[in-house]
Every structure is written in C-alpha cells, then in structure tokens.
Amino acid sequence: MEIGKYIVDKASKLGVDDAVVTITPSLTKQIRFANNEITLSTIWDTIDVEVFLAYKKRLISSNLNNPSMSETFSSIGGGTNLTKDDVDKFLGRMIKIAKVLAPKEDYHGIAQGPFKYNSIKDLHDKKIENLGEKTVDFVEDAIDAAMNEGAKRCAGVLYSNLWEEQKFTSGGVEASDKGSSINFSIRAFAEKDASGHSVSVSRILNRFDAKKAGAEAGALARQSLNPVLGESGKYDVIFGPMVAANLLYYMSYAFSAFEVDSGMSFLIDKVGKKVGNEKVTLVDDGRLANGFESGMFDQEGVPTQTTKIIESGILKTYLHNTSTAKKFKVKTTANAGIIYPQPKNIILESGDSKLEEMISEIKNGVYITNVWYTRFANYRTGDFSTIPRDAMFEIKNGKIARPIKGLRLSDNMQHVLESIHAISKDSKTIQWWEVEIPVVTGHVLCKGLNMTKSAK
C-alpha cells in the first residue's frame, strides 16, 4: 500500500496536477478443452502497477515495471518491492516527457475525494481460492452433461480468478477492493454444422453451474442437426441471450462519451430522444450483486453507481468519467476509464415474455442462438453485420420449422433497438470470448430485421 501513496505524494510534490495509481495483484487459472480433452492448464501470477499523470493538461498513462530481473515481488496480497529510488527516477522521466507533450485542452481533471464506499453483495468468494482439482471436475461434468444431451464433442474454457485492486489518487482516494470470479464457456458439437454454445458466469461458487451450461449447449447441438441453407429476406428475429449480449456489447461503444466526442457514436445529439422501442430500458450497473464487472469504485476511485442509459426507449445519458462529464456539463456516471469511459455490467431490463410465446406469435422468422464477427460499415450510423454461429432455426406459423445455416444479420444498431418487440422475463449474464463486457439479458424478439447470405 505504501508505494502507491508514495507515488501520488511524490508526483504532487513534483508539480503533477493529477495522479492515479492502481496496483493489481491477481492470480488466474484456466482450463481449456477441445474434443472432450483438456488441451491446456494455465496459471497467471502477476502484479501490475499502473500510473496516470496529468501535468498542466499533458496526460501520460504508464506503468512501473519490475525494476530489475533479480529483484523479487512478494506474493498476492502484498505489494511490490519497488523502492523510492525506482519511483523517483520513473516520475522524473515521465515529467520530463510530459513537459514536451501538447496539452489536452478539454481535459478537466479527476474526481476529488475521499469517498465513502458501500460494499456490494456476492463479489468475493474464498471458496474460489482453493478449488484445486475441482476445476477439472467442473469441466468433465459439463462435458458429460452436453454428451448426455446428444453432443459428440465439446470445446471451451474455465477460468477462476482472484484479484485485489489498490487505488491511490491525488484526489484523496486511498481505497482497496478485492474480488473473485469463475466463468465457463462451452461449445458442443453434434454432427457437421450442428452446434450449441452456452456460458456460466459468476463471482461466487454457489451461483456457478457449468453442468447446466453444458446441458444447454448439448441440447442446442442436438436440436440443430442437419441444418439447411436459409434464405435472405426480412424476418422477425428472436435473439438468444448470447446474441442479444453480443449486439449490446458491440453497440456499447456508442454510449461512451469518448466516442460521442470522437464523432463516432450513432447516438450523437440524441440524449432525450427516442432511440429504441418503449420496451427497451438499458442500464449500466457497477453495483450489481454478483455482477461480473461490479466493484466499489471506478478507475478514478469514484463510487460506482447504477445508470439508466436508455429508459423506455429514450436515451438518458452517455457514460462519463469526471473529465468528460465536465465537458458535457453533467455529473460523472462513475464509468472511468480515465481516458475512455465504458460500461461495467450492461443490463437489458427484463420484459414479461417467454421464448415459447415469442415463437408462437411469429409467422415467418428466425431464432438465432449465437453470433460472432460483428463489424461496422459505419460507426456513426451504426450500420453493421454479424454472423450467426451454432444453432439457428427457421420459424413458420408459430412453430420452429427446421434448423438453418448460412445466414448473416445485416442491419443497423439503432434499428435493432427500435424493432425490439418483446423481451423475456428470465435473463442471464453473458461474458465470453466474443462478449468482453458482461451483459445481463434474456431472449429478445425483433420485428423486421434484414438477413442476407452468400449469393454464390
């Protein structure tokens, strides 16, 4: 703890206006598997010391690396062995650089604390510290569950993670937080072109269920056997939670004040305006109990909060840190990123529908269970396309007609929000390789989206 405070104090003495130091020791374990076999077991044992400095509006993001190969770090829970001399040399070098940089004239500083922090439920579980061989059991049980549902082979990953975050700022913040997480992603394959994917994401062990994820992935693989090529056209489309999460994650750049300021967001000049169907209420919650990215403070040390981004279809706010908030003449939403504000846990508020009800009201539609490779033809307008992978079904006259393949969703992000017609009651947290920021969502029915396919 001492080294963080020393860096901030010394930086202030040297004329630095704002300093933020974040020390993060972490221990992460991973088990990867493919073809029902464990392909790799990994341990990451690291400690990072990140430093942000603002010197007369000249901004530097840096880190303090281990100073020499022979010196030692203590283990998790401790600090680094950095000496005052290391820090003095580092700050001297950074300030020298800062003096020749050009100023960011629209930089408005960091938050002034100190702050009071209220704890959040279910973010740290000691049981995750000592899982040992149990992690292999989780993987094997999930594979078995998928196979019992009809899968022929499975691939995926299990992570367990423990970390601490120590925060010191020239705004008077001296705080620490700690967390744990366990997350699992499984893709089950039946025959050629038939597959299903599911995840289980939690901060605590008793809300984690790898077996259930395995069974879900296996069932989707079985249900999607022998898919036929789908046809291009306008469809009513049901997004499974992994699809809704993917699109909400990929559109979340547009919520960041950084991208609005960059001129890249499709939501520029739309605060207070209708950007989605009235059924759409979208929240960022940094304080969600068992929230995958929940924590007591943001990167500036501001206590996290719950922010309605879209309420009943109306855009309420962008996501801010202290500096962007001042520029936009609003209050920070505690989403620092000192440079780039971003969501913590994106939540699409539940509706009152069920998957079966959604299917029953569709005459001509498509049910997509997973997508990847979401890319934008134009960030400013939100024109994008994304490709379904895993189980996809044609819906005819209120019923699942048959599994299909080979289609692509080519549409516009705001149009997707506007076309949302129903949201399911049940929801789950999605976070995996394709969805880096956790999204809590259920099934979503959109009316009239554009599906395309390769013409040759």
């Binding site: 088990i31 077991s41 341990i43 990072d48 901004l59 010196e71 770090f73 283990s75 994304t386 080979g406």
Partner: protein, 475 residues
Amino acid sequence: MTVDKDLIHFCVDSALKSGASYSEARLVSTTEEGYILKNGTPESSVFAESSGIGIRVIVDGALGFLAINKLDKKEIASKVKEVIKIAKVSSRSLKVPIKLSKEKAYKDNWEVKAKIKFEDVSPEEKMKYLFDIEKNLSEIKNKLPSRFFQLATANTEKYYVNSDGAEIQAKLPQIFMYYSIIAMENGDTEQRYYPLGESGGWEILERRNLIGKIKEETTALLKILKQAKKLPKENIDVLLSPELVGIAMHESCGHPGEADRSLGREGAQAGETYLTKEWLGKRIGSDVVTVVDDPTLENSYGFYEYDDEGVKAQRRVLIKNGIINDFLHNRWTASVFGKKSNGAARAGRFDREPIVRMSTTFMLPGDFSFEELIEDIKKGVFIKSYTEWNIDDKRWNAKYVGNEAYLIENGELKHLVRRPVLEITTQSFYSSVDALGKKVEFISGTCGKNEPMDPAPVWMGGPFARLRKIPIGSA
C-alpha cells in the same frame, strides 16, 4: 533490458525437476510508446514497459502453461509445481498424449535493426507527425466530424530456451499507425480506417507517405458521398485491389489453413475451419491461385526468424495453383499430422501460449497490368478499399463491403458506386479468379485468436485480382 539468462534456464530446469518431460521458458520484455490525436486534440500518451516469463510444460502427456511477472526463483518454482500438478490431473482426460514434433534445436540470435531508433525521436516529434496529418486536412476539416490518428512504437526483446536444447535471442522494433476518418456531406456519412504496421524503426514513417495517403483517401470519401451511385445487384465481373485480396487471403486462406483450428482446438473461440486433412491435394480454386504465408519478408509486421517454439521461419505454400497444399503448423499440430513443424507458433506477449498464427499471407502475382485486367471487362466493379467485413467460423461465407469502388464499363473505369457488397463462399471466390496483376502490395492488420485474446501483428496482400461473374450489388 539486461537478460537474466540464468533465470530463464532456472525456469526450464525447475519444470523438469518437478516432473515435466518437456519444458520451455520465454522471457518477453517490451517498451511501448503510444500517441493519439482525436479531432485535433491529443489524448493521453502511453509509456509502458512490461516483462515477464511464459513457461510451458508437458507432463504425463498434458500441457501446462505459467505466465508470471514476479521474477523471483522461489515464486516461479512454487507456481511451476502448481501448474504441473493441475496438468497431471488433466491428463486423465486425454485419449492421446500431447507430443511435439522432433525439431533441430537451434542456438541463435536475430534482430531487426532500426535505422532510426524510436528512442532517438522525441515524444514531441512523434506527436508532431500526428499534428501534421491534421494540418494537411485543414481545408476539409469542417466536413470531417471524426478524425482519429494513433501512433505506437514498440521495442521487444525475447529470450527463448527449451529442454530440447534450443536457445534463441531476438530483438524486434515495430511501428504501428492507425487512422479512422468519418466524412459528412448533407448529413450523410462514410468511414475509412487504415492500419499500417511494420518491423523496423522511425524511418518507416519517413519512407511511407501516409500523410498524403490520408488526404487522398479523405478526399475520396467526400467524392463517394457526393457522386457514388447505388449498384443494382447482378452477376458481373469484380476487380479487387491488393487491399481486398489481402483481407480475403487472411480470412479465407490463412485462418482456415491453421492446423490447430482444423483439429478443433480453437472450436469454442476463433472457431473451426472447412479444411480437414482430407482436403490436402484437392482443388479449391483456379490454376492462377497460389497463396503463401511467409514470416521472412523484410520489414513485414509479422516478421520473425525463429518462431516461439525455436523453429526456423520459412515460407509455407497453402494453396498451390488452386490445390490445397499445406497447413500452418506448430510442433503439436505437426506431430498429429506426422510431419515437421513449419514454424508458425507465435505468442504476442509473455503471458500468452504460443499457438499457430499467420505472419504475412498473400496471393502470388500473375503477369497482367491493371489496364490489361480491366480492358476486357464489359461490365464490372473495381473495389479499391473496404470498410466492413466478416466471415463465418468455418471460414466459408465471407462478406466484404466496398468503400472506394468504381463501375467498369467496356474496359473503362466509370463513376463511383456506393458500398458494393461482395458476399461469397470461399470456393466460389477462389474458383472465380481468372487473372492477376503483376505486383504484390501488402496491408497490415492485427489478427485475433487464442484464449485469452492475443492480437498478432500480420501483413496480408496480393496483386490486383479479377473475378468473373460474381453476384454483387450495393447494400
């Protein structure tokens, strides 16, 4: 960086002592600088250093990996033991033990020399480069609501040792420049982004006229907005620029040719591939199509002399005259295929497992000039640059959306067309190519693969390529 060779050997020995049948340790140390100019205003500059060790072991036929930046022998030894313990338990799931192909154990040093070292160019000069781009756009700035320029430099040093006796030391300077621009006319917008990455020093930016290119492409964006017409969907010829050929080679030849993908190892992340071992020797495209992946091209962004398993870098011929010829291999996939590795194992950082990655993937040239390629096109479209693209996880259905594109009529370039969409299967793409330009050009990219994600610097490219009778039209 002073390389503590003793510590790296300690890592390898410590794993063997704890029961590993194979071990390797890779120290990676990187010094990075980064600068951003956003709509004329600098964002935070980045000055970062990182170093750490990645240790990979095989124990009881199972693979384990430890990434650690606490460079202390006691801590390393204890965590190595832990990795070995969990790998031993995981070995019960294996039907076949993991083996690596037998390779010559090289002891060597390699280095890409910067003519102008990054540390000899002041932060002020680096930032000035971005301000010069902005200045060069000043006349049309009011029509560009988004101007984002990024410059990054990195010096990486590696020291690799494995228990087979390989020992490789490497030094690699790399530069990366990225720009993204949105142009607006009467409320209508188009975007252009472009990455440039090379191995070498500051001289790269002096050699490349990026400032001029950005102005030229931005002017083109404004023309697209004013002049481009929609292209009705029909079966016509398509002429692709090296930029389009490059992205297609990366997505629909390089990725599907990664042997680990073919073996299902990336199934839950970067996906699988249509290519199985049985495809070797089978036709995917026309005779003119030959595609290679080559890490040895001078200054290329994915350049290396030895891969991250100590295997010597070499050119791989993935498609030869339209026939599937080879996969990209690391030592594990090579052993499964019963052959030698062709040196495609890479890891971007110390804390990532080395897996099969591309380097520079490109189509070899033909002998046509640009004029010869278009002269017998009755009706077609020439796509010079692209914006959105994607491909399914089998690498079969691809989509490339044109940015700057022109109608071709009776062998002549006509007006601009708006966002033509090439949505095509891999086999149709390669089978439709009938003629190629004389000269190969490259674009840069950052390839995404591995879990967790490990962005890898790559080049991709090819000549101008003519595809006959392709269904294409505006979005």
